[in-house]
């Protein structure tokens, strides 16, 4: 039984169609990298999975329930969406930020209980952000902020984590930390769908790749199949004169992976 299912999704903003009859399944132990050129709809697909956008036709199903008929609170207990950028107007601490992940579990007038505190502490423990808890979120470094954002998602105790460009703006050391964190999350049994910009970071971390290209059905396969120069050249619309560069990059990737 898939955890999340995209069934015959059609979606577009305004007149342009972004997805036509898109299909895909996410199972419990999947760790999927979502790739494709800029503007192809990676973030949109994550929003469809999070229930903050609804498809124009077709259905997204979460544990076989139609997502658009579910309450957002109920969705947020199963699926956590970690956006690319957060812009906080006040100086909330990292812990107060992560506490917001418990919102779907709180009653109208209720505060945080012991179970909520435990979930927050565990989320911050897994992301190694517990020591940052009294720091002001806006004063954290990019890598720290990224981990605290993921901690908010984990405080929702989700079964599926949607990450929008988790590696962006991270230096190489922080990227390796993020790779370790994704490994930790997989061991926790959380399924992951992450949009990825840097193809170099996919292999050895993600179990499969979803490749979006405009006006074509989404392609799915193992990283080894999908990160092939011929596939990428087409999907990313690389000019042919850059083929040697692309081949070199993907070959390096293969060697690194071995």
């Amino acid at each position: 039984m898939p955890l999340l299912e995209f069934g015959h999704i059609n979606f577009g903003y305004g007149s342009g169609e972004l997805f036509h009859d898109l299909n895909g399944w996410i199972f419990a132990n999947d760790c999927i990298a979502l790739v494709g050129r800029n503007g192809v709809g990676k973030t949109t697909l994550l929003r469809l999975a999070a229930g903050t956008l609804a498809p124009q036709s077709g259905e997204v199903r979460l544990k076989q329930s139609v997502l658009r008929s579910m309450k957002q609170r109920e969705i947020a207990k199963l699926v956590a969406f970690v956006p690319q950028n957060v812009d906080l107007p006040f100086s909330f601490t990292a812990e107060q930020f992560v506490e917001q992940g418990r919102t779907p579990f709180l009653k109208m007038f209720g505060g945080l209980g012991v179970a909520d505190r435990k979930a927050i502490e565990r989320a911050m423990g897994l992301t190694d952000t517990w020591s940052l808890r009294f720091r002001v979120f806006n004063e954290l470094s990019g890598g720290e902020r990224q981990r605290v954002k993921i901690a908010l998602g984990l405080a929702q105790q989700p079964q599926l984590l949607l990450l929008d460009e988790p590696m962006q703006h991270l230096d190489i050391g922080r990227q390796f930390e993020m790779i370790d964190l994704i490994g930790t999350l997989r061991r926790e049994g959380i399924a992951i769908l992450a949009s990825m910009h840097d193809l170099a970071l996919i292999e050895g971390v993600f179990t499969s790749v979803w490749l979006l290209s405009p006006d074509e059905p989404m392609r799915q396969g193992s990283p080894r199949e999908m990160l092939h120069p011929a596939v990428l050249e087409d999907a990313f619309n690389c000019p042919p004169r850059h083929r040697p560069r692309l081949v070199e990059r993907t070959r390096n990737r293969m060697e690194l992976a071995i």
């Binding site: 957002q72 107060q96 917001q100 919102t103 505190r117 502490e121």
Partner: protein
């Protein structure tokens, strides 16, 4: 496992410590408020010693008729009014700051007070404000005016769900100026009694005059509704601070929350304006100072803001009516003197932090 338990316990203990701090602050504010009310009741052209007040309250002695009149007709209504107005302005400031996701929002700055004033002026010029029904209608019109202006400013100032400081201030300034001067326009249409003119003039200066007990009762009810309505909104404002998308994802209905904040904030603004007129910056200073002490959590800020706002405006109003006695200063002048520089300081800071 043991570590985990210890950590959770530590977290709960720290939470307990913060709780204690908040409790101390609330206790301190309540006590100061009561004390300030007693002291303020004794102050003025006719001095009534604090001891006499306490004794008479406990039935141990009686006050002279003159003292009684001064206290119950003049001073106590005014003291209660100052506390209500301060509380209403501060809490609506807190709500609007959360709504606009901008620490510089304030009912005066964003034009909500101006809207309430225009609404109230219509009431005053069309209806006799001294009657209970008249004042009730005036308050209702102030409420409508406050809602209208905040919706307008929000619509004018928001860019992709955010209200940048500059557009918020400009839209607020323009709307507020237009609305305040529209009230002057109403004044010229007012033929006859001069009653309306007097009321309007004291509103524009931000004077807490001589409210009657029925007027205070109406405003108390509005404030009560406003405060009670703010309680479930406070936590939502915390989540809303993460941005519209995040809040929606976490199960907060953003649109409903916004409408609720506008309604509740406007009730509070209208309550304050109906008694005190245009009193500037109170809604800005009080939440800001408390945010420095308690942090940005709206749940913790709400009760503290309600109390501190009442205390602040009571002190300011008492100062306004005594520092140049026997003449009186409109309290709006005083809050402008205190709040203006404070606002500019924040704006300067915001230029570095928010706008950069």
């Amino acid at each position: 496992m043991a570590r985990e338990v210890a950590v959770v316990q530590a977290s709960i203990a720290r939470e307990g410590g913060q709780e204690l701090r908040l409790r101390w602050l609330l206790g301190g504010l309540s006590a100061s408020l009561v004390l300030a009310m007693l002291v303020a009741a004794g102050m003025g052209a006719v001095q009534v010693p604090l001891r006499r007040l306490v004794e008479s309250a406990l039935g141990m002695s009686t006050l002279s008729d003159d003292q009684r009149t001064i206290l119950f007709v003049i001073r106590i209504p005014r003291i209660v009014a100052a506390a209500l107005v301060g509380s209403g302005l501060s809490v609506s400031g807190l709500l609007f700051q959360g709504l606009f996701r901008n620490p510089l929002a304030d009912p005066y700055v964003i034009g909500s007070s101006g809207g309430a004033l225009l609404g109230a002026s219509i009431g005053v010029f069309l209806l006799p404000a001294v009657s209970i029904a008249g004042f009730g209608t005036t308050a209702l019109l102030a409420f409508a005016g406050a809602i209208g202006s905040i919706v307008l400013v929000y619509w004018l100032a928001s860019v992709n769900g955010r209200t940048p400081v500059v557009s918020l201030l400009l839209a607020g300034f323009a709307v507020s100026t237009m609305l305040s001067y529209s009230s002057y326009f109403l004044e010229t249409l007012d033929q006859g009694f001069g009653q309306g003119m007097h009321v309007l003039s004291s509103w524009l200066h931000g004077t807490i005059g001589q409210p009657t007990w029925p007027q205070l009762a109406i405003v108390s009810v509005m404030l009560g509704i406003g405060l009670a309505g703010s309680v479930p909104l406070a936590r939502r404002l915390n989540t809303l601070a993460l941005g519209e998308e995040y809040a929606t994802h976490l199960g907060i209905s953003v649109q409903q929350t916004r409408i609720a904040v506008i309604l509740i904030g406007s009730i509070l603004t209208a309550a304050a304006v109906a008694l005190g007129g245009l009193i500037s910056f109170t809604g800005l200073i009080i939440p800001h100072i408390l945010r420095m002490i308690l942090g940005p959590d709206h749940v913790r800020l709400l009760p503290a803001t309600a109390l501190a706002g009442a205390l602040f405006l009571l002190l300011a109003d008492t100062a306004a009516r005594t520092i140049i006695a026997p003449a009186e200063l409109p309290v709006g002048v005083l809050t402008a003197f205190i709040g203006g520089p404070f606002f500019l300081f924040l704006l300067r800071k915001a230029r570095r932090e928010v706008l950069s």
